[in-house]
Amino acid sequence: MTHPYDDLGPEAFWKTAVAEPGAFGLSGLWSPKFPIRPRHKIVTAGSCFAQHIGRALAERGYGWIDCEPAPPFMQTEHARNHGYGVFSFRTGNIYTPAMLLQWLELAYDMRADTGEVWVKDGRFHDPLRPAIEPDGFATEDELWDARRETYAALRRAVETADVFVFTLGLTERWRNADTGAEYALCPGTVAGTFDPDKHIFINANTRQTQAALMDVIRLFRAKRPKLRVLLTVSPVPLTATASGKHVLTATHYSKSVLRAVAGMVSDRYGFVDYFPSYEIITHPVFRGMFFAPNMRSVVPEGVATVMKHFFADQIAAFPELRELRVMPEAAQSAEMAEEDVRCEEVLLDAFAR
């Protein structure tokens, strides 16, 4: 061997791995660390894009588990409007590792509820998931009952899952300076009242993001030693930024931090993996073809391509999975309407000038 590049495969060189095969000839983007089998119990949480992954897995007969199912007979659309069947529990979108950590600590009584409730038009909204009941809760008791139910579902999810898929979405977040509570959305947007003295903006850096994610993973393993974690980064740009920067550059900062942290954490642990859905959607080799005209929403073909790589790379790494597949045609994902994906963050559009 004359130098380390001599024996590398074609996937290590841009010409053979990217330029020659082109966007639709790419393969081997992911070398999974562990197999994900149909019998595995899979939990999904995170930002908007995580919804696609959960649905695609469930449609293919994989063991996506719903730890907080909707009541019987509730139509799917109505259930999703109320936050059921979107993720494995009814948290709504969890955009940041800090938010996931907060949910877990609350569920495990490692942190006290602040008692904060937002009131709008006589209805009560949960600051951790203000859009979960479209018209708000009728009473505060209802709100806290629903919270306790979700805590129980979260515990069930962590303690029974084989794989926890978490999609990192944002670095920008809002926190209550007095209580330390992390909000899903800036107070005053969907509900609540913004107080500049109390509500502080944080744009987490890699150190802060990594610390929160590591705490999450430590908690996972404490509660479920065999739990494996699959990280992804949402390719969906920010709807709005409070950073004072242009939303395009703010998006790149946010995604760069998340991508870096996902890589750092997955490189550190054998039981944590990173799946490059972010790259598949956003990389210039795909020339933005997977974005809708607003250059923000991901079109169904993008999701289908992501999942095609997911399953192809799983099978490439673990050929025995080919026999276990219960996967119908990948086209099913293309049927998923983008508007079906519940993205509370989009509510911020209502406040865009």
């Binding site: 009541p71 019987p72 007979f73 509730m74 109320h82 009941e133 809760f137 306790r148 139910e149």
Partner: protein, 255 residues
Amino acid sequence: MPSRAEPHSLCIVGDSQIGSVALALKEGLTAVPDGYSLEFWGVEGPAFRTIDWVDGAMRPAPAALERVLEVNGNGRDHVAPGQFDTVIFYGARLRVATFFAQYFQWASGRVTQPSRSVLETAVHDFAISTRAYRMGRSLAAAGDRVFYIPAPFSTDGVRDLAAPGSLYQPYPAAFAATAEDRAYLWDVFEHVAARDGMTLIRQPEDTVTSGILTKAEYSCAGAVEEDDIGHKSPAFAARWLEELWPALDARARAA
């Protein structure tokens, strides 16, 4: 616009469950309140499913028309808004027991009740999946007074409904439902129906046993021999109608 009917004309619409109503009246177990006239309109289950809202009225498919006319006896081939002051759906495929059983099982895996809004949404989604309920809603929207008496709970004592492979075997928690549990769900059903312009009359609590069953004493004649858990006795119909009559009067006074 059809001309408005006499204020006290009633029409009981339903499937084979209305047979027990007719018998209850015939046997004198209950009586239509003074001042009210009554007509039946409907047909047994499979044919009842052919009744649909067509050209602004409930109409059976041609194949079911003869049976509908037999039941009605007055040559009424359709029921349109305004023909009756009050339309009462009886049974009419709204099998609330299906919802009750699955809901109680679902709830048994939870630590709290869902929000009222969530439960109302689920109940409404269930109710509007029944065509007769939708037809009742259309009549109510057109100005008719509409009552809805849903299909009764299955009869106890006919066969083991909790046995493997039987109707309620997947929902064991339903058998432990309390009167309070049922009252809560009935309240939601009544509220949802009221939003759709109808008055739903809940199954009398004193006819209920084992969470989601109707007491064996209300089984229809030959229930065990025929393995019939659905139909009830005239006495049962009379008992439920006793809940209807005062409501009817109250609404008539309010009208």
